[in-house]
Amino acid sequence: MASVEVELLWAEKYRPKTLDEIVNQEEIVRRLKQFVKSRNMPHCLFAGPPGTGKTTAALALAHDLYGSGYVRYVLELNASDARGIDVIRTTVKEFARSVVPGPIPFKIIILDEADNMTADAQQALRRTMELFTSTCRFILIANYPSKIIEPIQSRTAFFRFTPLKKEDVVARLKWIADQENVEYDMEALETIFELSEGDMRRAINILQAASALGRVTVEAVYKVIGAAHPTEVREMVKAALAGRFTEAREKLRALMINYGLSGVDVVKALHREIFSAELKIPEELKVIIADYLGEVQYRLAEGADDEIQLSALIARLAMLGKRLRV
């Protein structure tokens, strides 16, 4: 009894361990199984939207190649966490140096969010990949394959992951809920799919959070989604459009500090808010605001100051709000 008390995050607990357990992406699974059979593989590029099974497929491939002790043969790196290409190069070098005995003559390096690397860093990565080809295989994971430079694309086997189908996601959620003895309404599981946009990890996170409230109902799902989308975003837009600048700025600061949102996160959340049905503003105003949001996001990506740019955004909303009223 005591041993089952520990709770894991379901997104990890129910991650398929082997290629056989992966129910969708059939074509990809079929190709990966060929690698296992031949005990060899090329460098790979897994591309597709979040939560479609890229990391899962990479880990399952490693599992099937090396067996349950596969962790020793795999190096997981995340391009957005590792500080720069130099860190990646040193870590890879260190990892590639030690030879692990076994039937497979190479080790696997999984580099997640590779599309977050600059073109220069990718060039350096390409050289690193070539240098260690005899001992290591790279699996690069990316949301946007077009952001991966041509020389890397041409040196990797390309796998395109597609958004998961509704029946697959709902069936998986149902299975997890049954395993966990969670009570649920089928309608709620369908709502989770609609709100998670084909992102399995997100869907499972929502399911787990909703189950913490009790029976998983449509209301519970919406409550979870509502709580995960800070109300400050809408309050900030409303205050700004009503001309209450300092109040809007306080909401902005709360978002950034309490929720740890970056400037770009706030812009994206605003973008979602502008087009949501709950915010009653004229249709053409949505376009005007979206136009400026795009400009601000670009400026922030270029390294502009979030406080200044987002204050300017609030000031613009206040001005637009005033023009709307007169």
Binding site: N78, D112, R201, L213, A228, R253, E307, I308, A312
Partner: protein
């Protein structure tokens, strides 16, 4: 935010006698004006009042106009840059009688040395023509009359020197303001303010109001830190005041470049205080737009290391911000330290805990810290806020520390900790 009239406006002298000191200047200026009123056109039709900043040049002209019932027509030097403006002023100068029952007019051209000798060559000639044709007294003010570009103008003007105000004169004025504002003040504090002002009454009064905005009790201890770091450089407070008070582009640029902080910090000061100073939404929007553009230019400077571009940063954050004000009246407002800097310091601990949780989640879920913060943390929060028993089991699974739990549910962390203790006992 308390919004009051700037004291430098509130306490402007209304009579010649109220103008502090400057007896010699008055002895020259008043008879010259009287001659005009009595219809005896003096030999020199213009007077050039010169002397250091804040010693009473403009104040004397304003007080004279009030006392003698003259209409004061104030022209900014920059108005001379367009032909229409010159013609408009010429027309005013040529009209003998006032519409509003004044006994006459004074035409005041303030800060004439703000003109650029080359760019505004036409303007100086226009002023000379005006002096030639006028039927009313023309008064010019300048800090430095010996500037070569003003040579031709000097010959046409009665030169009236204003001296740097003596310290005791500054102190006695500050005392009067304190009495009128019902402030309790230490003599030493006023003396310190006067020392820093170096004879500039305007800056002394501004300093006094700055100090008073913090405490009704003007003591040396309160005054010192506010005045401390000034070597004729501006504190951020003064730089802001001077920026928002600027009428001309060059003033605004000087204001932002003369602050004793770096320009990035100065930008944050402006960003923080803009909404207090500009209350009209259109003004505020224009000002922030200019500031945001300045920020973009600064980014380009840093990225390309092309420091030539820095000039445009100052244009936008200075002139762009100051000239954005069209509808809002200039008011006295209390300025605040940039919250961004304060909050970053205050919330460092919280952010560190948040990042530590993200790291745990990133490791457990094979994702990056960024994705963990954005995609997982919000749902974890819900669980921790709604279901302490369940939260405790997750905390155990992820090996979360007490401060992490407190971060996830500031309201119910005690319940979670209690549940966690129970779990550990049974395990």
């Amino acid at each position: 935010m308390s919004t009051r009239l700037p004291w430098i406006i509130k306490y402007r002298p209304k009579k010649v006698a109220e103008v502090v000191d400057q007896d010699n200047a008055k002895k020259q200026f008043i008879p010259w004006i009287k001659a005009w009123i009595e219809g005896k056109k003096p030999e020199k039709k213009a007077a050039l009042l010169y002397g250091p900043a804040g010693c009473g040049k403009t104040s004397l002209v304003e007080a004279t106009a009030k006392e003698f019932g003259l209409e004061l027509i104030e022209m900014n030097a920059s108005d001379f840059r367009t032909r229409e403006a010159i013609e408009r002023i010429a027309k005013v100068a040529a009209t003998k009688y006032s519409l509003f029952g004044f006994r006459g007019k004074i035409i005041l051209l303030d800060e004439i040395d703000g003109l650029n000798a080359i760019a505004d060559r036409g303007a100086l000639n226009a002023v000379l023509d005006l002096i030639e044709a006028t039927t009313h007294p023309i008064v010019l003010t300048a800090n430095d009359p010996w500037d070569p570009k003003l040579r031709s103008l000097r010959d046409k003007c009665l030169l009236i020197a204003f001296r740097r105000l003596p310290k005791r004169a500054v102190i006695s004025m500050l005392k009067r303001i304190c009495e009128s504002e019902k402030l309790i003040c230490e003599y030493d504090a006023l003396s310190l303010i006067a020392d820093y002002a170096e004879g500039d009454l305007r800056s002394a009064i501004n300093d006094l109001q700055n100090v008073a905005s913090i405490s009704k009790h003007i003591t040396l201890d309160v005054a010192k830190p506010i005045l401390a770091r000034r070597d004729r450089q501006y504190t951020p407070f003064e730089a802001l005041r001077s920026l928002f008070f600027s009428k001309y582009a060059w003033q605004a640029k000087r204001a932002v470049t003369s602050a004793d902080i770096d320009y990035e910090t100065m930008m944050l000061w402006i960003a923080e205080n803009l909404p207090y100073q500009y209350t009209d939404p259109e003004d505020l929007w224009r000002a922030y737009e200019a500031l945001a553009r300045a920020d973009v230019y600064l980014g380009r400077v840093k990225r390309t290391q092309n420091w030539d571009l820095l000039a445009y940063v100052f244009d936008l954050m200075g002139a762009g911000v100051a000239l954005a004000r069209k509808k809002t009246k200039f008011k006295w407002v209390k300025y605040s330290f940039p919250q961004k800097i304060l909050l970053l310091a205050k919330t460092r601990e919280r952010r560190e805990i948040r990042d530590a949780i993200a790291k745990v989640l990133a490791g457990a879920l094979h994702i990056s810290s960024i994705v963990a913060k954005r995609e997982v943390l919000p749902f974890l929060r819900i669980i921790f806020n709604e279901n302490p028993e369940y939260a405790a089991r997750i905390a155990l699974g992820l090996n979360l520390t007490e401060s992490m739990i407190k971060f996830l549910t500031p309201k119910r962390y005690r319940e979670v900790l209690r549940e966690l203790a129970k779990l550990k006992k049974t395990a």
